[in-house]
């Protein structure tokens, strides 16, 4: 007998087992339980049952979500009224209602309508869409690549897009050059998008050879990024003054090119990308516990990673093509949300997206009004607003996550 217990039998304290209440233990278990050190009474849980804790933490996450929606709406209203032309909040309401509510019969002045509908509204919406896509993509990529330093540009996307744009601006060359006949904004946009996606696809293809491990993806992205950056540098070097200036402005990024056409094109794309990110939120939650664990929880790690990276990069590449490279939002918005509500991707994705949208909208409103009529690059303002806020949170919360 392997379990022979020759000594005196230990007394077995009655033990209730939540899974097995009342049923007696079998002999073998009895012997093992007998070896158990005298049970230390655990302090009564004063903080409620699992259900209560889950409800309260979920409530806090939902609260942040609602708060961000309100913040974004407020920022939108401020942005619509801010600027050289005097347009009050009432005018904004009348214009917006007049445009989107068929039943609305109020009228607004011609000037107000022109300023709001033609200039400010598309710019506001483009800022929101861009902020959402960059911040959502940042959260998504940080999650599936297990790396907090990752941003939407990591897979060589920004350098690829920059190279595409530079090619169009400097050489007037591009995939669709024969179609457009000349160097126009569309050539720059399509070129930036195509090369952004191309770079990402290249990186993914390389990483596939090694099982798409996060390290390979990140390092491959950095390497391909350098390659395209070298191309951009070369194009800068050979370019004429005019083209050089245009290229530098494009590389800095900004929302001055906002049009309704851009909004109409990008909106469904970003919405679809967000839908994918939300649909796989549970899988990414599981992935945070490690690939093997995620696999054992029924997650197809490869597929989730590909879909997440694909959806995020697609949206980021599309918006970048219209706005140029806007950094920082995609890196910092997810981290601010992480510090506030933790790493539940069901909430982290929408919260990051909303915060990114609000941050970019506020920054862009500042960019076009502070030194009007001169525009400050939006990236400067995003950093000026975002960095102190982020550092404050970081120092206050340290490694803690609040719930």
């Amino acid at each position: 007998m392997g379990w022979s217990c020759k000594g005196p039998m230990f007394t077995l304290k009655h033990r209730t087992d939540p899974w097995n209440q009342g049923r007696d233990c079998t002999g073998r278990a009895r012997r093992f339980l007998a070896l158990r050190p005298s049970p230390v009474p655990r302090p009564r849980d004063r903080r409620g049952t699992v259900e209560e804790i889950y409800a309260s933490t979920t409530f806090r996450k939902a609260l942040l979500l609602v708060g961000l929606v309100i913040l974004l709406a407020a920022a939108g209203l401020v942005a619509a009224t801010a600027g050289a032309a005097q347009v009050g909040a009432g005018d904004v309401w009348r214009v917006v209602a007049g445009k989107f509510l068929p039943a609305y019969r109020g009228t607004a002045g011609e000037l107000a309508r022109t300023v709001v509908v033609d200039l400010r509204l598309p710019r506001i919406l483009l800022a929101v869409i861009t902020g959402m896509s960059l911040a959502g993509a940042g959260a998504a990529m940080q999650g599936v690549l297990h790396n907090p330093l990752v941003d939407p540009y990591i897979l060589g996307l920004s350098s690829g897009a920059a190279f595409g744009a530079a090619l169009a601006i400097v050489l007037g060359a591009g995939f669709l050059a024969p179609v457009y006949g000349s160097v126009g904004p569309y050539l720059v946009i399509t070129n930036a998008f195509v090369f952004g996606i191309l770079a990402m696809w290249l990186v993914y293809g390389i990483a596939r050879l090694r099982g798409t491990a996060p390290e390979t993806l990140i390092l491959g992205g950095v390497a391909i990024g350098y390659l395209f950056s070298a191309g951009v540098a070369l194009l800068k070097y050979v370019s004429e003054n005019e083209a050089l200036k245009e290229l530098v402005v494009w590389l800095m990024g900004g929302l001055w090119g906002a049009t309704w056409e851009a909004v109409r094109l990008l909106f469904p794309l970003v919405l679809a990308s967000q839908a994918v990110l939300l649909y796989y939120a549970w899988d990414v939650n599981a992935l945070l516990a490690g690939e093997e664990v995620a696999g054992s929880l029924g997650v197809n790690v490869r597929r989730v990673r590909l879909l997440y990276l694909g959806a995020a990069s697609m949206a980021a590449a599309a918006t970048v093509a219209f706005t140029g490279i806007i950094g920082f939002v995609g890196l910092v918005a997810p981290h601010i949300c992480r510090l506030l509500i933790g790493n539940d991707y069901r909430f982290l994705i929408p919260c990051s997206s909303l915060l990114g949208a609000a941050l970019l909208l506020v920054a862009d409103t500042g960019a076009r009004t502070i030194m009007a009529p001169t525009e400050i690059p939006v990236g400067v303002i995003t950093s000026l607003i975002g960095v102190p806020f982020f550092l404050g949170l970081l120092l206050k919360r340290r490694s803690q996550i609040s719930l």
Binding site: G2, W3, S4, C5, K6, G7, D17, P18, W19, N20, R23, C25, T26, R28, A29, F32, L33, L35, R36, P37, R42, P43, D45, R47, T49, V50, E51, I53, Y54, T57, Q142, G143, H146, N147, P148, Y279, A281, W282, D283, N285, A286, L288, A289, G290, E292, V293, G295, S296, L297, G298, V299, N300, R338, G342, N343, D344, R346, S399, I401, L403
Partner: protein
């Protein structure tokens, strides 16, 4: 038999790690895989957990080839605890255990999910840590939380890779007793990789001793752990005695480094 391993061979690239391993595990049985470093213990467990695919041979769960089972279905039947793997972003204990419900959840968390989580957390005694970040726990507490996650899955089979390594003796005993209880009271099949031979012998129904990727011996602990097998597999001189609480193994010295011999067995 709950799990049947039939003639499994596995190789990393050209380096063969397992050669024709076959074994069976019944419901309510605890089986420990033991053997020296590099003998293929973890590889065998990872094949069982579907992390790795055998090059030849097959593994069956309830008579079905495991690679043919749908991922979600599989996750509801088999819980797997790999060796400590850190998370990159902090999560709370409750979130960690709730992940075990992944195979049962579509998108929304149902009351029965939270009930299962609570049951699992009470069972391993971590219910009062629910709000704490997983990263701030001690190794022993952490292992209990991870075990709770596997239990929240409500699996029939538990696979554990060195569940007690780097834990203090109290936590070692607590974890192993929980596993014992799960096997005896709920009929779960438990397969684990173990290094500590005394604990493996005491808490397992069967041991599987691996040497260079093949089974050297398998069966009841007192049959597997002998002076001869320890010498042949581990290259260690040892004393094996039938103590009050089961088998006791006392390793003495490496065989290669023999200086003085004899007399030890009489002490």
């Amino acid at each position: 038999m709950k799990i049947v391993v039939r003639d499994v061979t596995f190789a990393y690239n050209s380096h063969a790690v397992l050669h024709g391993v076959s074994l069976g595990v019944a419901e309510g049985e605890i089986v420990s895989i033991i053997g020296p470093n590099g003998s293929g213990k973890s590889t065998l467990l990872r094949c069982l957990a579907r992390v790795l695919q055998p090059r030849r041979g097959a593994i069956f769960l309830d008579g079905r080839e495991i690679l043919a089972i749908d991922a979600r279905q599989w996750a509801r039947q088999v819980g797997y605890l790999p060796q400590a793997g850190g998370t990159s972003f902090p999560i709370t204990v409750l979130e960690a255990v709730l992940m075990g419900r992944k195979p049962h959840i579509r998108w929304g968390v149902m009351p029965r999910d939270l009930e299962a989580v609570e049951r699992a957390m009470r069972y391993t005694g971590v219910e009062e840590m629910a709000r704490r970040p997983l990263g701030e726990l001690s190794g022993g507490e952490r292992q209990k939380v991870l075990l709770a996650r596997a239990l929240a899955q409500e699996p029939e089979v538990l696979l554990l890779d060195e569940p007690t390594t780097s834990l203090d003796i109290l936590h070692q005993l607590e974890i192993l007793e929980l596993l014992r209880q799960l096997a005896v009271e709920q009929g779960k099949a438990v397969i684990m990789v173990m290094h500590e031979l005394n604990l493996a012998a005491r808490f397992s129904d069967k041991l599987v001793l691996l040497k260079d990727g093949s089974i050297f011996a398998a069966g009841r602990p007192e049959k597997v752990l002998s002076v001869a097998s320890l010498k042949a597999v581990y290259g260690v001189e040892a004393v094996v005695s039938e103590g009050r609480f089961g088998l006791e193994v006392l390793p003495l010295r490496p065989v290669a480094g023999r200086g003085t011999l004899g007399g030890d067995d009489t002490t």
